[in-house]
Amino acid sequence: MLGKAHIIAHDFVGDPLYKIRRLILRTEVAREAQPGQFVHVQVAKGMDPLLRRPISIADIQREAQEITLLYRIKGKGTEILSEAKVGEELSLMGPLGHGFTLPARGELILVAGGIGVFPLLPLAKAAQEKNLDVSLYWGGENKGFFTSSGLDLWQEARIPVFLSSMDGSIGEKGNVLDLLKKQVGSRLNHGEGATQAAQSEVLSVAVCGPQVMTQVVSDYFLQKGAAVEVSLEERMGCAVGACLGCVCTLKDKVSGRIYRGKVCKDGPVFKGEEVLWDYEG
């Protein structure tokens, strides 16, 4: 879909210090959108910046024909977007990309680093509808960050949330991998080695966050035999797979072939086991 979306709401989530904005749009995109997909938004009326901005879909209200976007004001593009007013229209392409797989059964662990939590809520809600056992492990800087990044949305949805903060002001002190090791590590240990196949049928993991965090969490759960999906982020040009600006490097598990995946079209969600994180060249 390429068209206009009406701005229904646009405000700060919590403390403006954290610069997290909530943008609710009425758009046809709501009809088709799947967890993990994104939209490509035209932010500037002029030519600086020239390109659209890819923003993940943070909530889908199909009946109301609305989607919620959460984003952090970080640069020129998001700065301009933050000025858009309720009642105005934005040019939108979407829904775009290949989203998360909803597991058929078992447990789904969601792992987020910082604002990487945003695309995970639609997946959590879909899992809930399917009566899957779903929980979120979320790392961030401090208490203010969580309350300003939509923690209440998770609480309203009654999804179990486990937090880790760098300063210890909320949840466990430390990073999200430490939290995971402490909270779920012990019950996963029997999954190592021979029972990997069995484990991947019951435990699925979806990860989104900064690349280093995503990589270590993905590797951790892959070692435990879980089925891991990761959502990647890259600078995008076209967002439809035409310009090859946002590729990642993948390795086919079976053939061993190394190839490029388009984060915008083949992703942003990929199988953790197929991503070559440190490929140079």
Partner: protein, 322 residues
């Protein structure tokens, strides 16, 4: 259909009516297009990526992503950097390679309901020869654009495009190996664009396309290093348009073969500038990223422009600014 001086939204009605009025076809030497709007190589994938947003059958033609004999993974990331009214890219000719293209992509490309131009690149004359041999009349490809101007790979592409003798040689070789119309894509990163244009004409090029991206750089001042992993990249977008229009103007005066003009076209006014400067057709690249409907809007605007000024055919406006 015109309502209160504005183009009505209903595109179907509009084109059906306007086709009676304005002759849209363009003759580019041996290559005939249904209308003068093409999409640029490297911005339109293999032709179906934008299909959900812009109907392929409305386009005069599309140019495929650049191909080389062997698969290329391209450059490391970041490959994109935004600049005012433009962007830098350093994709580095990532492509599946000739064999995989023929097997996995060509069957779909062949079905595209428009003129399809293959873009070929190489690192040696032998590479260009292999690529030219692969595309002949009846192969599903309608013309070959020879990329002698890629700024993003070492020791290839642009070398051929910045030395007149090399450019002439590579075009002559491709021309000898294929029976398809041959388009030479010129680099703006030269001292004398006219000299290059004359060289490819001498080499037997049927058509010139111009311009490729301008070599540029952007630096992250906080990290104190270039944004692009490749350090330099090709600048595209409206920022380069005046340079492109000037070069089309100069080349149009100096050669007898038709020109496809490109470089920063977003709107029909931009396209009109190129045509008035001497381009018989225009190509839209980075503009697709901003507005996937740009090719259609440009076409509608050019038609309306012709009607408003009393031209019966789009080709009537070519070179009128000279």
């Amino acid at each position: 259909m015109k309502v209160n001086g504005k183009i009505e939204d209903n595109y179907e009605n509009y084109t059906e009516k306007s086709k009676e009025d304005i002759d849209l076809t363009v003759e580019l030497g041996p290559l005939t297009l249904r209308n003068p709007i093409i999409t640029c190589s490297g911005t339109y994938g293999f032709g179906d990526e934008y299909a959900p947003y812009c109907p392929v059958e409305k386009l005069g033609g599309i140019t495929l992503k650049g191909l080389t004999p062997e698969q290329r993974l391209g450059n490391p990331l970041p490959r994109l950097a935004e600049t005012p009214a433009g962007m830098l890219n350093s994709v580095g000719l990532e492509n599946p390679g000739l064999e995989d293209f023929l097997q996995s992509y060509l069957p779909k490309v062949r079905e595209l309901p428009t003129t399809v131009i293959a873009n070929i690149s190489g690192f040696s004359l032998r590479d260009y020869e292999i690529m030219a041999n692969a595309f002949q009349a009846g192969s599903g490809i309608d013309a070959i654009e020879v990329n002698i101007s890629c700024p993003n790979v070492k020791h290839g592409g642009m070398h051929f495009g910045t030395h007149p003798d090399s450019a002439q040689e590579v075009i002559a070789l491709v021309k000898a190996k294929t029976n398809l119309p041959v388009i030479a894509k010129l680099s703006p990163n030269v001292t004398d664009i006219v000299q290059m244009a004359k060289a490819v004409e001498q080499g037997g090029a049927d058509i010139i396309s111009m311009i490729n991206t301008l070599l540029g750089m952007s630096i992250d001042i906080e990290r104190r290093q270039p944004i692009l992993a490749n350090k330099v990249g090709g600048l595209s977008g409206p920022a380069i348009r005046p340079v492109a229009v000037r070069m089309v103007w100069q080349v149009a005066q100096a050669v007898n073969i038709p020109i496809i003009g490109m470089g920063g076209i977003l709107t029909w006014q931009d396209a009109a500038e190129f045509m008035l400067a001497g381009a018989r057709a225009v190509s839209i690249g980075t503009g697709n990223f901003v507005n996937p409907l740009a090719p259609l809007e440009v076409l509608e605007g050019i038609e309306e422009y012709c009607r408003r000024h009393g031209f019966a055919a789009v080709s009537d406006i070519v070179g009128l600014a000279h």
